[in-house]
Structures are given as C-alpha cells and as structure tokens.
Point group: C2
C-alpha cells in the first residue's frame, strides 16, 4: 500500500487517458476520439468539450510511446549531420528544429563524424526508434542504405546535398552558381592562375563546386591547371591545409585559391602562413558557405554566402509535406547564394 502523497505524485506524473475518460464520464475510446483533431467530428460536440475540459483540468498529455506503439508513428525525425563541429551546421539545425517543432515533431540529431559505418549505424538505430522520416546532410548514402530507405518507404530529404539522379528531395544552395561567382570575382581582380582545392566528389557539394569551377574558368577564357584542381577526402581544415601544401610544393604557379568550403579555406590560411606566403598579398583565397565567424578570421574571409537557416527550414518543410501528404515527386529546392567580399582577396599585383 502506497502512502497517499506518493500515489498522488505518481498519478500526477502519469495521468492517463483512462483518468480523463473517467472524469468526463465517457469511455476511454471516446475520450481518445475527442482529443484527436481528426476524429473529433465523430463525437458529439458537447461531449468533446467535456473531455477537453477534463483533460485540461488533469493536465493530461498523451503518452507518445503508447501512441507510437499503436500508430507506428513517433512524431520524431532523424537528423544526420556529418560534422556538428562545422559551424555551418548549427544554423541549419536551428532551421530544421524550428520548423519541426512548429509542426509537433521532434528532431533527433546524430553526428556521423563523416564515417560511413557510423552513418549506417545511426540510421538503423533511428529506424529502430521508429523515426517517421529523415533529414540528412550526409549524402554519402551508399546504395544498400538507399534501398533500405526506399524499401521501407520512410521519407527522406537531403539538406545541403543532392544525389545525382535527383531521385531524392533536397534543399540546397546552387553550388555551381556559387563558385562561378567566386571565379568571376577572382578573374575581375586580374587572377589567371587559380587553384581549386575542393572536397570529396562523392558528395554533391564536392562535385558541383568542382564542375562550377571548371565551367566558370572556361567562361572567363581561363584554363584550369589540372595539377591545381585537387579534391580532398573530407571537408575539413586539415584537408584544406594538406591540399594547399601540396599545391605549393608542386611548384605550379598560382595567385588565388577557390576552396571547397570555409573550413578548407581556413586550412589554406595556415598552409600559406607556414610557407611564408601572405593572404591576400601573395595569394587570394575564397571560401564557401559564409559560416559563422568567417568574418572574424585573419584575414576576414571572402566567401559565398548560403542561407543556412532557410535551407534547414526548407528541408524540414519538404519532409513535413512528405509526411503529411505522401510522396509528391522529389522536389529539388535550390536557393540562391550570394558573394561576400572581405579581406582574403585582393587585386593581382601586376609585375
């Protein structure tokens, strides 16, 4: 036999549907119908009102676990992030979270550390947890995983990534256009020997930026030096640094760098400095993403701004549409990037 207070506390903790049904003088089933928007019409308006009042009085909140068991929905969505320490992602996450919250969904975030195996594990774990859908910024999705998703029919949208065949809905910025703006800026400043130190081409961001670079160069009548078009294995500072070192040590001549993203650009800063090269004095650098703080680096970074928050929000939006209205083709949402000129680029000093 429990002490009264303990029982009270316990019941306060867990006020169940049965309790509100009892208070309202109806059957739990009826209470359930009254509480749910969609089924409320099935019950007498007056009764519904009574149930709502009772629920309110008791401070009833449905147990999502029980509900989920019955409905196979968790009102939860998995969010896969490749590297949460990349400042690019927090704003995106914020966008996703805001939009999802608003619709009553809760994001469950996992950090895959850019590791395919870990990605797979997180993915499975989340599916086991019955997430209703996925938003992923890690588009290294191998086909096995893709099939798994498709086979189960769980909605998935990509954020800041795309897949080649455009079979998956996505919210991204126009990467090709973005780096063309970078190339244009550099060309306008008089640079002709421009290196591209990009990210892995298995990722759309890596591939499209590289393509954009090549195209942009050709448009300006410049010939990209194949030895100066490198692709790193990850979008990290270290990789940027490594690539930049290699470029310098290759002996090829260049006066500007278009980096795969801001992190890689930052790596270039380091490599340049280690070789006694000044930025932008000797070499101009432009990044990509305009991630938070890139205006505070040394020098302030010239980069391509993409609307982080909106991209996240849009991705969530896409997913919600999928969740609530079923598949409607795969929408490819692409937002416009803009050029932000700061201190890491300078006009070429003609000698």
């Amino acid at each position: 036999m429990l002490p009264v207070t303990a029982r009270n506390a316990k019941e306060q903790l867990r006020v169940t549907l049965r309790d509100v049904a009892r208070l309202a003088g109806v059957h739990p089933g009826t209470a359930s119908r009254a509480l749910n928007e969609q089924t409320r019409s099935l019950v007498n308006a007056e009764t519904a009102q009574r149930v709502l009042a009772a629920a309110d009085e008791l401070g009833y909140h449905p147990n999502p676990i029980a509900r989920g068991l019955k409905t196979n929905r968790s009102y939860t969505v998995g969010v896969l992030i490749p590297d949460i320490e990349n400042p690019l992602f927090p704003p995106i996450i914020r966008g996703i979270e805001d939009r999802l919250d608003q619709a009553g969904y809760t994001p469950v975030i996992a950090n895959t550390e850019n590791d395919a195996e870990r990605e797979r594990i997180d993915f499975r774990a989340m599916r086991a947890r019955q997430v209703d859908g996925f938003i992923t910024a890690t588009a290294r999705l191998d086909h096995e995983l893709l099939d798994e998703v498709a086979g189960v029919g769980v909605p998935l949208v990509l954020v800041n990534r795309r897949v080649e065949d455009e079979s998956l809905p996505s919210a991204t910025a126009d990467d090709r256009a973005g780096v063309r703006m970078a190339v244009d800026l550099l060309a306008d400043l008089g640079h002709e020997h421009i290196a591209f130190l990009g990210g892995p081409t298995e990722l759309s961001t890596g591939l499209q930026r590289k393509e954009g670079f090549i195209a942009g160069m050709q448009d300006r009548g410049l010939k990209p030096d194949p030895a100066l078009v490198a692709t790193g294995e990850r979008f990290t500072l270290d990789e940027g640094q490594r690539l930049c070192h290699e470029a310098i040590e290759s002996g090829r001549q260049f006066t500007a760098i278009v980096a795969g993203n801001d992190l890689m650009a930052l790596g270039c800063y380091d490599a340049l400095a280690e070789h006694g090269l000044a930025c932008p004095g000797d070499v101009s650098v432009v990044g990509y993403n305009d991630m938070p703080f890139s205006d505070h680096f040394n020098p302030p970074m010239t980069t391509i701004r993409i609307p982080h928050y909106e991209i996240g929000r849009s991705a969530a939006d896409l997913l919600l549409r999928l969740l609530e209205q079923g598949p409607d083709g795969s929408t490819q949402l692409v937002l416009e990037p803009t050029l932000v000129v700061r201190g890491s680029t300078a006009a070429l000093d003609k000698k």
Copy 2:
C-alpha cells in the same frame, strides 16, 4: 556474410519477438528473457543460444517503443543547450553523444535560444516524450522548474553550469581558477588596469568568473575598478561588443580586458577596432573556453582552455550512473582549465 539483401531488408521492416520465438521454438516470454542480459540466467544456456541465433538470423532488433511502454523507459535523454551556434557546445554535445550511445541511450537535443520560456517548453515536451533523464547546459532553472524535476524524480545533471547550493550533480571546469590564470597572465605582463566584461551572474559561469576575477586581482595587489566590472545579459558577441563600447566610452583607463567567454572577447575585438584601438597593441584581451576557431581569429585569441569533450562525456557519465544505480548524492565533477597564450595579449608598454 550477409544473407540475401532483399529479404534481409524486408524482414528488417518488422521482425518481432514472436517471430524469433517461433523460429527458436519457444514462447515469446522465454525469448524475451533469453535476449536480455539480466534475465538470461533464468533460461537454459542452450535454449538461450538458440534464441540468440534465431534473433541474429532474422536480424531482430527489439522495438524500443513497445519496450518503453512496458518498462517506462525510453532509453532517451534530453539535452538542453542554450545556444547551439556557440562553438563551445558542439564538442560538448559530441562528448555527451559518444558516451550515451555507448550505453544504448539516445540524446534528444533542444536548443533553448537562451530563452527561459522556451526552456520550460522544451523541458515539458521532453518529459512528455518520456526521456529518462536530462543533461542541461542552461542553468537558469527557475525554482518552479526545479521543483518539477525534483518532484518527479527524474535525474538531471548540469553540464558547464552549476547551481549555488550544489544540490545538483554537474560536470564543469573550475571557472574561478580559470579566470585567475587570466588575471595572473595579465598582471605578469604588467597590466594594472584590467576590465572584466562578464556574462550574466544568474549563471554559475557568469558569477564564478566574476568572483574569480575579483579574487585574482586582490591576490595580485590590484584594485578592480568597479566601473570596469560589467556583467552582460547574455554570453554573446553582441553583448561583449556593447559592454566594451560602454567601457571605452566611460573614459576610465584600462589596458586589458578579461571577457566572459570567447564570444564576448570577439565582441571586444570589434568594439576596440571601431574605436581605432589595436589589440593587443593598445588593449590586451583574454577570452574563456578556447572554443574551436579561437586560434584563427584576428588576433589569435589568448584564452582559457577547458576540456569541452571531456566535460560532455563526464556529464553523460554522471547521468548514466544516476540512471542505472539511482541517486548517490550529487557529485560535483570539476575539471582543470589551462591557459592558452596566443596573440591577443601583450606586455604593457611602459611609458
């Protein structure tokens, strides 16, 4: 190796305990016992083996929702972060996630935007979602919320924050010691007029750093100028900038600043620059946290390093202990900070 992938994928959709039991030729109840570490001893070793094999063959993963319904546990913990865009937090989150994953728990992260109301909402929402415990970096916990937590008896640990009465377990760095190191450095460099531009004193981080500053100054025989000890409303760049402006415009003389955290220090950079003051030429600045990228700012920031990742990990550790072994007093885990000298501090130019 792997069985036929298609079948694997299909069956993974929903292979239930009943299926496993059937394949193993036992009752579902028995299968359940065999599958769970703690109850495995209740079933014949050979039978258990058979069940395990069956589970493996079918690729069985228990449905956490159903399990949670029965056991009142979700194997999920709520993580409350005040500002996910502050680079300090991602590494902490990573630490939390790593440790939690390892124990089979999933973190559910919410970003409270430093807003008390939103904090309350997130808190409630998570409780409704049956999280087993909380890790929170937002210690603005008002008493109502605290009572709520205590009343329900749901475990909670603070990360990078503490409460005055030490009634709540926490994992933090030694804030007092940290800023004393900052003061010592500055004093060693010859500075006597040092400003402290800190964060809100409702937060332990704000309060303790301020106290550490006063104590550190006194130890060095310096008298803090009350007009130069300011406390901002938030730990943000903007607040740092505002405070620094005010300090400069106050007309009081100072040659160094101890900032509440790296973000605020960055704000000081901006304010100083706007007033044509050089850092560290005219004014030295030291931050706090050594958050990612503070080595790449202009100038590279002198700051106090705290072990972000370990703090997160330790917090998770504390919570797990609470979860699995019940309350054992409130452990206050405090880790040691270290001084990182970079370019934002310089010896005072004696005139």
